[in-house]
């Protein structure tokens, strides 16, 4: 990755602490236009913190986040307006609202401007399942459908970068495959995707490049194919070989 073009989303030396506990100690990453980038890591590595810090949901202690060169605001509602949207961990759909109402909520940042109808159609072509369920309450959807709804809702703000926090959480393997297929389609539509996942194999199979996050630090990065073939990654995250974790790897 020695290209000189400007990254669409750039995180530089990001640090976040919860009280005395450091969650991210200087994390950097770059996402180029049109890419799918995945960040993999185990429980407590700081993946969700990274997402929340980019969105301004937790305070960034140091470091900066840029979207095509300009700084992202530290307040989440502005970040959404600037063109970054997160489908949060655990989906967080509005259970008492219908599918349609949930999707309309996603158009809120634009304040009713632009063609919401067009975007709805776009989301429905990506997720035909949601169209079938249009009048159903979100709380009564299956886990996979709720995940589709959460992603669809995030897309309703027409983001330049879509962030996904654990889209596979709590889903059956066959549904996970569906969701990841949808993500490929969304990417083909020109949406850049940054995804954090515990399901490292699925994430790396989908993405162009990957980063490995471990206890708040990026310990490795590279094209996904290389990471998939890396014996230490295999051992630590892909379930092949022994229980050995990556200890001494630095890029």
């Amino acid at each position: 990755m020695t290209t000189e073009r400007e990254p669409l989303l750039e995180v530089k030396d990001l640090r976040v602490s919860y009280g005395a506990i450091r969650a991210l100690s200087g994390v950097s990453l770059k996402v180029y236009e049109g890419e799918i980038v995945s960040v993999i890591g185990s429980n407590g590595a700081g993946k969700s913190t990274l997402m929340n810090a980019i969105m301004g949901m937790v305070r960034r202690e140091a470091g900066e986040v840029r979207l095509s060169g300009s700084l992202l605001d530290s307040r989440s509602y502005r970040v959404v307006q600037q063109g970054v949207s997160l489908s949060p961990e655990g989906r967080k759909v509005f259970a008492p609202l219908t599918v349609l109402e949930n999707l309309r909520m996603g158009a809120f940042p634009r304040g009713g401007q632009g063609s919401i109808g067009e975007d709805l159609e776009w989301v429905f072509t990506l997720f035909p399942r949601l169209k079938e369920r249009i009048g159903q309450y979100a709380g009564t959807l299956s886990g996979g459908e709720q995940q589709m709804l959460a992603i669809g809702r995030a897309l309703m703000s027409r983001p330049r970068v879509l962030l996904l926090d654990e889209p596979s959480l709590g889903l059956a393997p066959i549904i996970i495959k569906d969701i990841f297929k949808e993500l490929r389609l969304i990417n083909n539509e020109g949406v850049t995707i940054l995804l954090v996942e515990q399901n490292a194999r699925q994430a790396l199979l989908l993405s162009d490049r990957g980063y490995v996050l471990q206890t708040g630090e990026m310990v490795m990065d590279g094209p996904s194919q290389e990471l998939l073939a890396n014996p230490e990654i295999k051992a630590a995250y892909l379930g092949a070989g022994g229980e050995k974790a990556i200890r001494s790897v630095k890029h």
């Binding site: 989440s76 949060p88 509005f94 909520m105 809120f108």
Partner: protein, 284 residues
């Protein structure tokens, strides 16, 4: 109309105004407060002092009372509304008691615990009815406005709504300020109705009652809050002859409702939609 009936209607309107304010905050924005009597006290005392000592006309005095409550709510809300859920409720107890204690001890201005007598009886039925109507129309429009929907979004899922571009901090503080205005005005009208106010009238019991009425009527239902107010106010009035058992019945009614309808009388629906429901076509 006898004076007694008129008194009850005035009281209903006053309590209704306060309940609408608390309903916006608790039922629609999901912030539980156990200190809202303090905003009533601020409205009542401001209006009393302005009308009695400075001879201001009661109308601007009432509005100023409401606005002072708004100002105090702003300064209290900005630092404390970062607290979520039960934590804010605890903080609001402290804030409510603090304001009451200031009123009790600031002798030179408020005349302390003995109370503030001699307020003009400006709260006549037409006045209170006009206030109630204007504030109710505003509130029922507010909860269906863009702001009202933002309140509900913050209540239902704080994380999701901030990710969808809602300025949740602003929504929460604004909601507190509007509810403080309603309570401030209600307090001011109460002062004019009784001609006498005392800090002890605005203690934690009153605050709890304000929130209880809203829960009783249904969280997330403005008409439910008004219905709850009517039921509670009428019960306490109806059983006045057996005064010492009054609170017993009041408690029993609360318990019965909570057992039979844990979501409150109206749940989260409005009276209008409840009437229309059988005739409505299914959403496509």
């Amino acid at each position: 109309m006898s004076g007694y009936t008129e008194g009850i209607i005035i009281l209903l309107c006053i309590n209704g105004i306060a309940a609408m304010g608390v309903s916006l905050l608790t039922g629609f924005t999901g912030i539980f407060s156990l200190g809202h009597a303090a905003y009533m006290a601020l409205g009542a005392y401001t209006t009393a002092i302005l009308t009695v000592q400075h001879e201001v006309h009661w109308l601007p005095a009432i509005l100023l009372g409401g606005l002072l409550a708004v100002a105090v709510a702003f300064f209290i809300g900005v630092p404390t509304l970062k607290l979520m859920g039960d934590y804010y409720a605890i903080a609001s107890i402290g804030l409510g008691e603090a304001i009451r204690l200031i009123l009790e001890n600031w002798q030179s201005v408020t005349r302390g615990a003995r109370g503030y007598p001699g307020i003009d009886p400006y709260t006549t039925l037409p006045v209170v009815a006009a206030f109630f109507l204007v504030l109710a129309i505003f509130m029922f429009n507010l909860i269906n406005s863009r702001f009202g929907r933002a309140c509900k979004a913050c209540r239902d899922d704080h994380v999701a709504s901030s990710l969808l571009g809602f300025n949740t901090a602003r929504v929460r503080v604004l909601s507190l300020m509007i509810s403080a205005f309603y309570c401030g005005v209600a307090g001011a009208l109460l002062g004019g109705f009784l001609s006498f106010i005392q800090p002890i009238m605005f203690d934690m019991l009153k605050s709890t009652e304000l929130t209880a009425v809203v829960v009783f009527g249904g969280l997330g239902s403005m008409s439910g809050s008004l219905l709850g107010t009517a039921v509670i106010t009428l019960i306490t009035e109806l059983f006045r002859p057996i005064s010492q058992y009054r609170m017993l019945i009041y408690g029993a009614v609360l318990v019965i409702i909570m057992v039979l309808r844990p979501e409150g009388i109206m749940g989260n629906r409005e009276f209008i939609s409840w009437v229309r429901a059988p005739f409505r076509r299914k959403a496509s």
